[in-house]
Subunit: 446 residues, 4 copies
């Protein structure tokens, strides 16, 4: 029984030694923003804005006890000082060059850490253009034999670990969105999967090879893209077998983040929804990839289901059964890495009277994603240390399509997700669950 294995409170081992962060897509905008930020914070040049682990607090006990430590002071997370970055990319550029190309961070922020970024040089990537049609790179592993690629990645990992004297690793996918895949026969069991790898089955995506290599190397895998990857029984099975956590999928940033903030608000007040039109414009490499219909389909599915789960039309047919939901993404170069989302929301209230909400979110994709990477790396590392393996539902907070146990539904409501995360931390540390029930403050009164 797992319950007995799970370490809690004083049993949780302190994080000792270096923690390797292995990133497929290490030369992308998100990765370089993440790594540059961590280094800037380490050097005291910046605050970890947007990171729940670093800035967030957690209330313990009653409202009038005022016990509100920082999360990082409450749970034994790895320190930023101990993170060591590495990864793979289809372009050869080092992290400084890549960050300059991405144009997310300004020169003023990159230059002081140029020395650090230049040391991060991507290893050659596993790449198959059938899965990402609008990109092409030449810094790739030779050949087309899938098993050989897996082995090459495992060797990369082992070498990286040794060269850097690492204690533990976490792999986090920050690469591109792959074309849409449905779970098919080779994905349904570990055995079938391994056979398909050996047979170079075209239904095995590169991201799955990375995940396979990670898990076989005893490393947790975090899926930042809407790719299928570890959402298949085969790899869930492997994760359990190896006692490794897996988490995903698709970092929740921008418009979907906004949606999981607004939709719970409308539902809280039982306001009906007639339609929700969402358009996105972005001009970075991600935008270019999503200009390909097949990659967009993968993303679209991830974006559309959000409302269904939050609004629960089966419970509220009069309010949420017939709304029209449309999401479009457009490549728009003038926006660069800055993403802009415009939402046009048609709601109705008392007696069916219509009202409208328009939201223009001028956000920055990588700026929103970077602190999520940090938190996920630290929390997933915590999970591996305390023995929480398999699907990490308590990390739903960070994902557009949270993984969940079969038979349960995913939780998309940002506020329930946050509650879930914090009450999980309270549980792990032996603190009382917070329910926000407050009658007790009043019942004692005369």
């Amino acid at each position: 029984m797992e319950e007995r294995q799970l370490k809690r409170k004083e049993q949780i081992p302190s994080p000792k030694g270096k923690l390797g962060v292995l990133i497929p897509g290490v030369g992308g905008a998100v990765s370089t923003t993440f790594m540059a930020g961590v280094e800037a914070i380490r050097r005291g040049l910046a605050e970890p804005i947007g990171s729940l682990t670093q800035m967030g607090t957690i209330r313990l006990g009653k409202r009038d006890e005022y016990r509100i430590p920082r999360i990082k002071d409450f749970v034994p997370l790895a320190s930023l000082e101990d993170l060591v970055f590495g990864g793979w990319d289809i372009y050869e550029a080092n992290a400084y060059e890549a960050a300059s190309f991405a144009k997310v961070l300004q020169r003023d922020h990159l230059d002081p850490i140029k020395d650090f970024l230049e040391t991060i040089r991507p290893m050659p990537a596993v790449f198959d253009r059938r899965f990402v049609k609008n990109l092409d790179g030449n810094h790739v592993k030779p050949g087309t034999d899938l098993r050989a690629h897996v082995e090459a990645v495992k060797e990369d990992i082992a070498r990286f670990k040794e060269e850097n004297g690492l204690d533990r690793c976490v792999m986090i996918w920050c690469g591109s969105t792959e074309v849409h895949l449905k779970p098919e026969e080779p994905h349904l069991s570990l055995e079938a999967f391994q056979k398909a790898v050996d047979a170079n089955d075209p239904r095995i995506a590169p991201s799955m090879l990375y995940a396979l290599a990670a898990l076989e190397s005893g490393i947790p895998y975090i899926n930042g893209a809407p790719n299928l990857t570890v959402d298949i029984p085969a790899l869930v099975e492997l994760a359990r077998e190896k006692h490794m956590p897996i988490a995903g999928k698709d970092f929740k940033t921008g418009q979907t983040l906004m949606k999981t903030i607004l939709a719970p608000g409308l539902k809280a007040r039982m306001l009906g929804l007639e339609g929700w039109y969402s358009t996105n414009i972005l001009g970075n490499r991600d935008g270019l990839v999503l200009d390909d219909k097949d990659s967009f389909k993968t993303k679209e599915e991830s974006k559309l289901s959000v409302l269904e789960y939050i609004l629960q039309p089966q419970l509220y047919p009069n309010l949420y059964k017939n709304y029209y939901h449309k999401v479009t993404i457009n490549y728009y170069p003038p926006r660069g890495d800055n993403k802009e989302g415009w939402d046009c929301i048609d709601i109705f209230g008392w007696l069916g009277y219509p009202m409208q909400i328009k939201v223009d979110f001028q956000c920055r994709d990588s700026i929103l994603a970077a602190p999520i990477c940090l938190d996920l790396v630290l929390f997933t590392d915590l999970a591996q240390r305390i023995g929480l393996h398999g699907i990490q539902e308590w990390l739903s907070f960070y994902f557009k399509s949270p993984m969940h146990k079969e038979g349960l539904y995913p939780e998309h409501d940002l506020f329930i997700q946050l509650m879930k995360l914090k009450n999980t931390l309270r549980y792990l540390m032996g603190e009382e669950q917070i329910t926000h029930f407050g009658l007790d403050y009043y019942l004692g009164e005369k």
Copy 2:
């Protein structure tokens, strides 16, 4: 000890007989929309959209039990059939005329219930123009003696109860915003207050006289405006003495509702706030009243504090200490009762990079307020039946400035408010508190 008095589960008496709804400002846009809607629902012409008591559900037990009753089937609330409406107004128009003037509901919706609305005729109001400068009406109680006004209202109540054969009543203020008052000496104890009434002290507002009359008549009081009214020790004292619930203040609709949805979302993700500029345009009588600086001051305070409490700058100085918050309201006749709020929100993320959110909320004030009135009447009636008296903090969900016990801080986060409300209901009905902790679903797995 109150704990023993509080009735729970099977002890809660079923709501028997008619429930009177007494409304100061019964001829206003909110009141008429509320009453017209209830009647339309009773006649099967409309759904109670926006009402948590009528449409809302509540999850009980584990996620996979699928026990999710409607709130009105879970808690013994009064039935819509049993509501009887009455109230006071400074204009003589009956509710049909008043609703036509307000132009919130269309002729198509008013005509089928014209017969009902015409029967609701306001009683003469207690009015003092020093407290609402931009309005003037002549359907008012004669004289300027405050005690005489209180007694007149109590007689109105008694007559209304008798004529309609009522079992219980609730008073809910739907009148205008009064000029800004600060708690002063005559407000600090019941004794001083009663003396001030006798002395016609100019610091006693008309709304306080209504509340006094209600509580002395054994009727709960709900404060839908940002007026001071029951926010003073004197009337809290009286409420406890009479074992009556009081709730307030200022119905949370429109822009503030949006703010208490968005701000928790930004904070959840630890995104910093640099500035929040909010402008409102509205063209109804409320807009006219708020064009008076003194009335606006009362409203402004109610609107500004929301962010402070949600964002907790004392916990997150790097994120929320120095934001610039500005709220303006402008009378704009073309908008009529439809209120429009535009929010311009400047946030910052990872490494301090700025992002922007613009929200244009084209809402309808009375349409959003009406279901709140309904819920508050029903929940407050529940409170009086089970013996929950004094401040009803668990109803914070409905208010811009929730009342709270001294020594506690108010809770403004819409999602925590909803959690609080639902867990209170669970508690009352002997169900387990929901924490959204979900590790238990996974810990049993091999």
Copy 3:
């Protein structure tokens, strides 16, 4: 020489007798809104808002002469009293039923003119589903022989004229957008065109058959859709031969109207353009038709070229050569006939600093199009009476893709278009051209 034939000033014959308005697509939202409005105006129930001919004025002479007549009092246009409506549609519904279906006008506006609208019953339409894929109707002319269809339409026209005792007619296309066609061999000369009709050539669209029937019947043709129709040499040739005016194409409403207002403003101030992203949502039949890629292509071309012509990148390469222009249209049922356009405009100024403009235009397609129909009918009728035949460039003001003489460029700037229209009217009536040169007021001063 035409110059001698053109009638000016006193020579222009007064409009005598009835003017028939023949509308392909008479049962659509635009047509019914147009006809209902004209009747409401005739009955004194409404003002002709949006109509330049009816509400517009024209300044004559110097600024300090204050001679500013209404256009309809200045130029001898047909009177609204003399308009008689008829047309074709693929649905059998009369104009009252069709208008009710379209949901543009409210019952309050339709009911008082129900008697009138019910008398307008469409004649069976020429229809070929290959040209409008997302619609299907059964009120169509039998068979597939094109020449037979042309003759049938001509007979319809003759019968309509006789039955109503008409003096003159104008045909105005208010039907759907057809799939995209390029001018090919059968379109290049009248002879080839007539042969192609005889041969049932698939490159002959239904709209061309209507135009052919109109011109052969001595009736001007106005093209309200982006269809190719009279934009081909064959029909220009026929128009000249028959001395008939033709005008088009694509009524300028909504987002494109906004574009031709804003772009000249940016250019006036020499502000550079980096990108212009336009998205449209609409939920009417037009939206459904444009959900078909081939129909959208026709519309897109009409919408995209607008900026190119206004901004003149060849003259201003530093400002307008490399902007990114994207237009999307999305079917969004909640919006109904109300169209919403959101524009995101990225401009740059002094030293290249970027600025942004966001425009949300919540407009009503048919409400904007109806007065255009009225003006075009009246002005085109004027043109036929004074002998102005062929392309009517002076009516560019009303079109997304104004027709123009070969060798000239189209004029898209709304303000130049208006100037052109008004100075044409001044010319026809023998008044001095207005140049807005105003130094003369000052040069006489000491």
Copy 4:
């Protein structure tokens, strides 16, 4: 007669020698952005985006002649090379320090021209805090004697001219908005004005003293703020006497620019206006000054009248007589020098149906104003060389409240203003007026 004095075509003297640009408020955001930009352009580091004189073209002759020179190649304007900058400010900072403080231009743009900017040091200003309540500076001329201040400014001018070997000068006010003044007795004649200066009359604003000094020194005066200054008979009289041009007032940027683009568009189409709500947020010194009610009143008048003149309610009472127009300005520090204007426009069309336009203009005040300064300096210098003195109505294009001859109305429509400007240039250079009449291209056809 002036007509004979006006030089045209070949008679216009070429601009020889240096042209001094004298700026009250030389240390402000607009001034420093203007000067920095001119220098950057001179050094080939930037393009003069936004400047009609530098980037603009002018069409000559018929559309098919394709004669479209740049304006600066068509009219003999002073060259950028010949501009020499100087001025006054209440802060001592040199132009580099001032530009750094203003935060309009980034370090990347300022540093390459630091040497140039550091040489521009303000002369002590004439300042009276009663006229600009929210500012305070100590780099001011001593004493309170108005005549002495005028003489001091004249000496400053003479010294500046001599030291720099200037041929001609232009004075352009880029200082703050003064409190609202109405023309009173001392403003009505030159004689009364001079007496009032001698008497230290409190109705004489500092800006009037600068204008007086300029005109008496034989230098044209341009009024970039909404101050009264040269809008009084006294100074118009002096300008004529001295044969000097005067121009004003209030640079047209931001929201008002947008208004004079959109309003003519709505009017062109005869769309009615029900209301126009405009709110501005800005965080620079200008915003701080306008937070003072008296300064705002000056600005408000300048902003409100725009719509009245464009829409001509006297001609179109059904469309434009009863609209509600509201303008607010709010100080909002997070925005810095970037101004944001939000417009909410309620229009109505055919049969009175309502539609809405929302415009969010995220602009930059100084970036929009700087090229206007450049154009006005060059055109006003042209005016003085050709003998065009007094009010320069042809420069209305650049101003929120264009000056105009008594008995005429101001022209606010941006497109008519541009037409007026260009046709004036055509007239001066002996070219034909453009009317956009285009029938002539068609009348020759067979």
